[in-house]
């Protein structure tokens, strides 16, 4: 409408002879007419076909990039979380391993102490038994000695009684007896 009004106005001016002179500045109505038709066709077709397609393409790419970035961020967050989980599990495992080792060490220590205690107890028992045996052997030996001394004393007494011995003979007799006893004990 604008173009036609403009064209009519210019045409009227031309017809009136006001702009008939060859002035390159003066607009020509036919050029306005064709330019306006051409522009509105260009605008209409571009607005209908081209601009929406280009806009959609840019929007699709923007959405794709945004989606990819958000997905990457999500994956990264998930990976961070899993890494933290793994690190926590690793730390837990290390702690558990340390605890097991410590328990094993304590257990081994306890076993060692038990074994030592048992060995010491066994040794003490053996020692006590040996002492007991030695004591019994000593007592048995002493009893034997006493028995032997008694026997010998009786025998000596019998000999004394049987023989009235002089002093020198008595001394000789006693020394012999002593030597005899000493030899028996050795």
């Amino acid at each position: 409408m604008l173009a036609s009004v403009l064209a009519v106005a210019v045409k009227a001016a031309e017809a009136a002879g006001e702009v008939k002179a060859k002035n390159p500045i003066v607009p020509e109505s036919k050029e306005i007419l064709w330019a306006s038709i051409a522009f509105f066709i260009v605008f209409g077709l571009l607005a209908w076909k081209a601009w929406p397609a280009i806009k959609k393409s840019l929007q699709d790419r923007e959405d794709k990039i945004r989606g990819d970035l958000e997905h990457a961020e999500s994956v990264r967050t998930q990976a961070d979380k899993e890494l933290a989980d793994y690190q926590r599990q690793l730390a837990d495992s290390r702690n558990e391993g340390g605890r097991i080792i410590e328990e094993a060490r304590q257990s081994a220590d306890q076993v060692r102490k038990d074994l030592i205690a048992r060995a010491e107890a066994d040794a003490a028992e053996i020692r006590a038994r040996a002492q007991e045996d030695a004591k019994l052997a000593t007592e048995r030996a002493m009893a034997d000695v006493q028995s032997r001394v008694s026997d010998l004393s009786i025998e000596l007494a019998e000999r004394i009684v049987r023989h009235n011995l002089d002093k020198a003979t008595q001394i000789q007799l006693i020394e012999n007896y002593i030597n005899e006893v000493g030899g028996t004990r050795r």
């Binding site: 605008f43 571009l46 081209a50 794709k64």
Partner: protein, 252 residues
């Protein structure tokens, strides 16, 4: 000794005879033909290229996305706001339309920017003019006009000065400056390149020893005009976005 250097009348650089519908009210001349070809190229590249968009872009898809992103982020969102992406199709189409028309200035064999014809900047700026007035009244009612004419915070005595200036500015200066900026830049560039090309041709015939001067200058200015063509398309689109933003949020 030398033939005189003559520059053709300016009119010859910009006015073209009709090649179809001759001398009728809807005759098609070189300007209109280039507008059609530009439109066809834009549609071919942007509709053809956007038919099979891939997640990983390649080839022409990179160009399409770069263009959309440039307009959407660099102009629409930056100037109007993040909630204004519905204006991107219009601003993008406007940018491409002007850009493709501007680039004809440096295409060998063509070397004529249709935007150096006042008809096209005038049409585009008036379209923008209507659009921002419409949006201004649609979103703000009469406050769109009164907000401009009687800006808050200005002492009332100054309204005598400010109000007429603002009125002229939003009624005349904005569309006029928008159109003339594009027209003047493209027209000046076209005249300059023509002059340098003619000078090169002239010196080649009459003073070959200095031909290299205008020739190299012509190449340099061609590169510069590539930048100007882009920059003018950007500025026109950017200012359109500024005016739309002003219509939507005049308090800013």
């Amino acid at each position: 000794m030398f033939a005189a250097f003559t520059f053709p009348p300016i009119d010859e650089l910009f006015r073209w005879k009709d090649i179809a519908f001759n001398d009728s009210g809807y005759g098609i001349n070189k300007t209109s033909l280039l507008v059609f070809i530009s439109s066809a190229l834009i549609l071919l590249i942007f509709i053809g290229g956007s038919r099979k968009m891939k997640l990983i872009p390649s080839g022409v898809q990179n160009v399409l996305e770069l263009t959309y992103d440039f307009v959407d982020r660099g102009i629409t969102r930056d100037v109007i706001g993040n909630d204004a992406t519905r204006y991107t199709p219009f601003l993008g189409s406007l940018f491409l339309f002007i850009l493709f028309l501007n680039f004809w200035e440096i295409i060998p064999g063509i070397q004529f920017p249709p935007t150096s014809r006042f008809a096209i900047p005038l049409f585009l700026s008036l379209m923008v003019y209507v659009l921002y007035w419409f949006l201004g009244f649609k979103h703000n009612g009469i406050k769109y006009l009164t907000g401009h004419l009687f800006p808050a915070g200005v002492p009332k005595a100054l309204y005598l000065l400010v109000t007429p200036i603002e009125l002229v500015q939003i009624l005349v200066v904005r569309p006029f400056s928008l159109a003339v900026r594009l027209l003047a830049n493209m027209m000046a560039g076209h005249i300059l390149l023509t002059a340098l090309a003619l000078l090169t041709s002239y010196t080649l015939t009459n003073a070959p020893i200095i031909t290299i001067g205008p020739f190299l200058l012509n190449i340099g200015v061609t590169g510069f005009e590539l930048l100007v063509g882009f920059l003018q398309a950007y500025i026109f689109t950017l200012l359109t976005a500024v005016y739309i933003a002003d219509s939507l949020h005049p308090e800013h």
